[in-house]
């Protein structure tokens, strides 16, 4: 057999990415094993998270050594993550669809690259900058003008900051797709007497539906995992489920970042294991969202094929 060094090396390199992913998952599963056994299903359904008293002697519960009073329930953070990301998508989708249509239809081709580059630039602004803007501008605004209690930190602030961060992701994917729509489609629609709105909504948007869903999934992935900006404006709610747009929340990622330092001082190490179980849950949520969206996108494709 002929040895092909190029093919072999490329094959080996291509294995690296799935291998890294598997390594992360494996690490999380092995590292959090003890916590999974200790917590059971309560982990997902309890609202109380308590690292316990690390300055007291650890106690043994079900044969596992944990800080006294330790309780790990993450329902609050799961809800916080899903609701804030969901709201962010609700805000971001109309914004980005509007922006993409505007850029592809209403802007002269000459200045389109400049504007679309500006949109893409928002995507590379570091999240801590969004967080600072949130603290300095958004939170006081919400507190003074919207919130009945005068507190601006919470679900709404987190969702708006997230929405701003993900809008350029959706907008730029959608813009690329809209520009790829064959000229014939547009022109034949116009020739049939369609208004500009009808051209966009009936002839162009159905063509780019799969891409739009893909962009939303990408954006959702970013929103679910966003840490720093959320940590700065979310109000860090714990032990209580959000009841309104102005309730403080925590997302899974921001919660892990906030607790890790204290967990490291745990002599039994159970806190860090519990946090890696939290991370595992976030990974599974992201995976489920991605898989669900893949299904949606393929379903959307089928619909279009049947129609054509």
């Amino acid at each position: 057999m002929k040895i092909r060094p190029f093919r072999l090396s490329v094959f080996a390199l291509s294995l690296l990415i799935p291998a890294a992913l598997c390594a992360v998952v494996l690490f999380l599963m092995i590292y959090s094993g003890q916590a999974i056994m200790f917590n059971g299903l309560h982990f997902l359904t309890d609202v109380t998270w308590n690292l316990g008293d690390m300055y007291d002697d650890p106690v043994t519960v079900h044969g596992v050594s944990v800080p006294s009073g330790a309780e790990y329930g993450i329902l609050v953070f799961i809800v916080g993550t899903l609701v804030s990301s969901g709201l962010a998508i609700l805000i971001a989708v109309p914004l980005s669809v509007g922006a993409a249509i505007f850029l592809s239809e209403a802007v002269p081709a000459k200045i389109r690259p400049v504007l679309s580059m500006l949109v893409e630039l928002i995507a590379v602004v570091p999240s801590v900058v969004f967080g600072l803007w949130g603290i300095a501008v958004l939170v006081p605004f919400i507190g003074h003008h919207l919130s009945p209690t005068g507190n601006g930190y919470g679900l709404l602030a987190a969702s708006i900051v997230l929405a701003l961060m993900i809008t350029p992701i959706i907008a730029s994917t959608l813009l690329d797709a809209l520009l790829q729509v064959p000229k014939e489609n547009r022109e034949s629609a116009f020739a049939l007497g369609a208004t500009h709105f009808e051209v966009v909504s009936k002839a162009m948007m159905p063509m780019v539906r799969a891409t739009l869903i893909g962009g939303i999934v990408l954006a959702l992935g970013r929103a679910l995992g966003e840490t720093m900006a959320v940590l700065m404006v979310s109000g860090g709610g714990g032990n209580i489920l959000p009841t309104s747009l102005f309730s403080p929340i925590s997302t899974i990622a921001s919660f892990v970042a906030g607790q890790l330092d204290s967990a490291e001082a745990d002599p039994t190490n159970m806190s860090v294991r519990a946090l890696s179980e939290v991370a595992l849950v976030l990974f599974l949520i992201t995976l489920a969202v991605n898989a669900g969206a893949k299904l949606l996108a393929s379903g959307a494709l089928n619909v279009r094929k049947r129609q054509s």
């Binding site: 690292l51 930190y153 700065m232 890790l260 204290s262």
Partner: protein, 354 residues
Amino acid sequence: MNILNKLRRTGVAALAIASLAGVTGTAKAQTVDVPLIESGSSLLYPLFNDWVAAYSADHPGADITTTSTGSGAGIAQAIKGLINIGASDAYVSDSLEAKNPTILSIPLAISSQEVNYNLPGVTNLKLSGPILAGIYEGKITQWNDPAIAAANPGVALPNHVIVPIHRLDGSGDTFIFTQYLSASDSGWASTLKYGTAVSWPAISGEIGAKGNSGMLAAAAANQYSVAYIGISYADKVASAGLGTAALLNKAGNYVLPTKDSISAAAESVANSTPADERISMIFTDAPNAYPIVNYEYAVVNSTQPASAVAEAIRAFLSWAITEGNAPSFMAKVHFLPLPAAVVALSQAQIAKIQ
């Protein structure tokens, strides 16, 4: 070429200092270039930065990297041997100490904490441990609660909901604040206890903020709020227009955090500080002592991999608790120097690093 030059320069400088040391007998020369890593408390970080700059200027060849990660990380990484000096606002707990008996907690300076409030028209608020515990437990929800009114006769307290603000990241400030609540309120001591992160009771309208800067921003943005903020932010707190509460101490007096009241607390435990120096200065007996005062610690493993490393750590730490405790370093962050008795104890601990 560059490296050679650098080597020659440091060598010459080291020789010069060594000869100087021979003459004066005081200056310590670090002849070997041993890189040290310090990491941990974000409260100590600005001071460490100042220290390292000044120390490096005086001690050619000193090579110390400082990073700000958090007290918990400082302790954990010092135990794992990833760093040479862990900076922490809290001493190493008994159970961690039992597992790692060679870990030393060495006080470097004295810090404190303010309880700040954003109350329009009120400037001289008095608060106590039980009142603060009630606020953070959700039992005291209004500023004109009878308990607060009883502590503040003659003060027009607003009829408004209290907005308690706490740290959502692990923090030495949470540690000393909850230690004060535990020491002064038996209910808090039996349920929530103390730590760098506690399981804050669910109160609607309560805010979690990240870092002392986040606490300051949240307190400034929310009228009727109360927050605990590290003393190094005192200037920023004052310019943000926040009030600083006088706190009830063990002797029954309401005390503001001043140089005198903080050092009164430090002096009162200086002579009873044990040899391992793991002691709380929260809620001490002294009549005019401020109740939230703490040592800032260097967490160091007494067994170092090489004697040169141990020597470099000893040299830097002894400098830090003597020359590094000079007012020029302390004033910027509102820390206080260690009392003489504690310096002696710290020196004895530093000498154990081998």
